[in-house]
Subunit: 337 residues, 2 copies
């Protein structure tokens, strides 16, 4: 038998056991019966490989490494999530390696393939962009492909499939509550500023629209697409020349641009206009006035992801909860009344 | 000969050629003479390995992957640098994988070893923390160890050694110029706020101290160590209860804390106090007033790093410039007069 034609599937088939079992034998796990262990080792012997060389050559031996993919690291939400994941996995004796995929389908596919070659035990996608827009299942096929090789976790997005686990924050509800706060203050001209059509941005928009509809306001005319840049947002609002008394932004950078607009226009915050950001980041704090912002409990979500993933890595056949959902809370600062 | 005892050094030695030459042969490079190629292939044949299996088994075959290490990704400077490196390497057909090492020696060593197992063609360290404090050469030994395996680049730090390449920004000069601007405006009580004792922070401090000495001011009494947190910096300044008419901060987050202090104390900016940040980040822009900040040309430095590294990867014996130095420029906004 030609050695380099062998792979773990061949060994599993020849031994009549699952791939997971071969993996356990090769890695010296004590969760395999002695009979099974001997059967697998006999096959490995037969094809003239020592378990160790076999394991290393085929990337089977666990390297205690978790792969993380983000669309971009120049985003405070994603950078923060990565740092919490890093910390959590480190406590469990796992290293993390990170790849940046960009937002387009080609980059997501390519980087998924790339990071799967790096001997990772599991893959975590951070960001709702990986879940597509929730309408076309096909756009998430690459995630189901990856899940055939390692357990896959998604942070802030929901994708169906075997070996895929999700953590989702209740963006729709949080956005609904924030917009309802503004309508309850009698605000009539409330904008929804978004730079994205991701799963998360769409949920935030739905919440905003639900609140406006309930208050008898037009749910569509305030939805504005903007660039994710402080000065660009400010300038867009200047150009609109429109009465505005409330703004809900999908992130704090956009909210900071809205604050600039109001401050430079001499519009009083929160007297004449109320502004709510999202992510509860340093940008909300560096702004003057400081921005009320939705905290989406990134730390909690990341800790939960680490904890569920460790269940699987400790016992490859464990099935933790497939999807966990987390509420969000508005942190009140100076831009709401 | 036992196969799994073999490594690239053995093959190179047996063939009487360099490791780089073995690598070229294995990877099918046309930069090897036919005679040499045959000699290397004969050795590989002799020990019963096909070049391909050999290359893959020993991690020799290029995976077109560059490893990047940062101390933390929740830092705008580092996140921005990573994104520029990503973009540059992608244009050259290389993927990047990223690891976060933390700031302590143990983490730096461990993550260096980890990322070297991931079949990387080169390693880039981002951040002056990797260069130590410039006093103890021993603290950078792990970088020289890594450089025995792959070419190593350091962004914003200088370390001596074979196969180590550095890009350094002229922080000392930039900091000198910023502090000199304040002394030239007649400022007498200028603080230097820093959260770090890294190579870069030390250089910034030197520049500040040179400017103050030249202006006949005490170069030491204004040097203050602070936490890297907007509110913590503000509160530290509140507690100091000291006359201050100028602040130079090692990053924009600290400068944003100084702005908070002045705004909340009713101190006029820039009339009564001038504030200069560093990194020219979104935090400088989200602040009101917007913060004058030193731009350290991260994009230029990263592009230069990609370009020098590609020279080596295209021809393993190429020797690009060992150290390149870049100036910085103060971007004037609303916190300087």
């Amino acid at each position: 038998m030609k050695k380099d034609a062998l792979n773990i599937y061949d060994i599993a088939k020849m031994a009549g056991v699952s791939i997971a079992t071969v993996s356990r034998v090769v890695n010296g796990s004590d969760k395999v019966s002695e009979t099974t262990r001997q059967k697998v080792l006999a096959v490995i012997d037969e094809v003239d490989y020592t378990p160790n060389v076999f394991a290393q050559g085929l990337g089977l031996k666990t390297m205690h490494t978790v792969g993380i993919l983000v669309p971009t690291i120049v985003d405070h939400y994603m950078a923060t999530a990565v740092s919490y994941l890093e910390r959590g996995f480190k406590e469990q004796g796992y290293d993390c390696i990170l790849g940046c995929s960009g937002f387009d389908a080609e980059g997501k596919h390519a980087k998924t393939e790339m990071i799967l070659t790096k001997h990772i035990d599991a893959l975590v996608y951070v960001g709702s962009t990986y879940a597509g827009d929730g309408r076309d299942e096909g756009t998430t096929d690459y995630i189901r492909e990856a899940a055939k090789q390692v357990p896959v976790f998604i942070i802030n997005g929901s994708v169906e499939g075997d070996n895929i686990y999700c953590a989702v924050c209740e963006d729709e509800q949080a956005s609904y509550e924030a917009a309802s706060l503004l309508t309850s203050h009698g605000r009539k001209d409330i904008l929804f500023l978004s730079d994205s059509r991701s799963y998360s941005a769409i949920n935030k928009k739905k919440g905003y629209q639900r609140a406006l509809s309930e208050a008898g306001l037009d749910p569509d005319e305030g939805v504005i697409f903007v660039d994710d840049d402080i000065h660009a947002v400010r300038d867009t609002l200047f150009r609109m020349d429109r009465k505005i008394d409330g703004i809900l932004a999908v992130n704090d950078k956009i909210a900071a641009g809205a604050v600039k607009y109001a401050v430079e226009s001499g519009i009083r915050i929160p007297g004449d206009i109320e502004i709510v950001g999202y992510n509860n980041s340093q940008l909300a704090i560096s702004s003057t006035p400081e921005i009320s912002s939705v905290d989406n409990y990134t730390e909690l979500i990341c800790d939960d992801t680490v904890s569920r993933l460790m269940k699987i890595l400790d016992d490859r056949e464990a099935k933790p909860q497939r999807e966990t959902r987390f509420p969000c809370t508005l942190i009140y600062r100076e831009t709401t009344g």
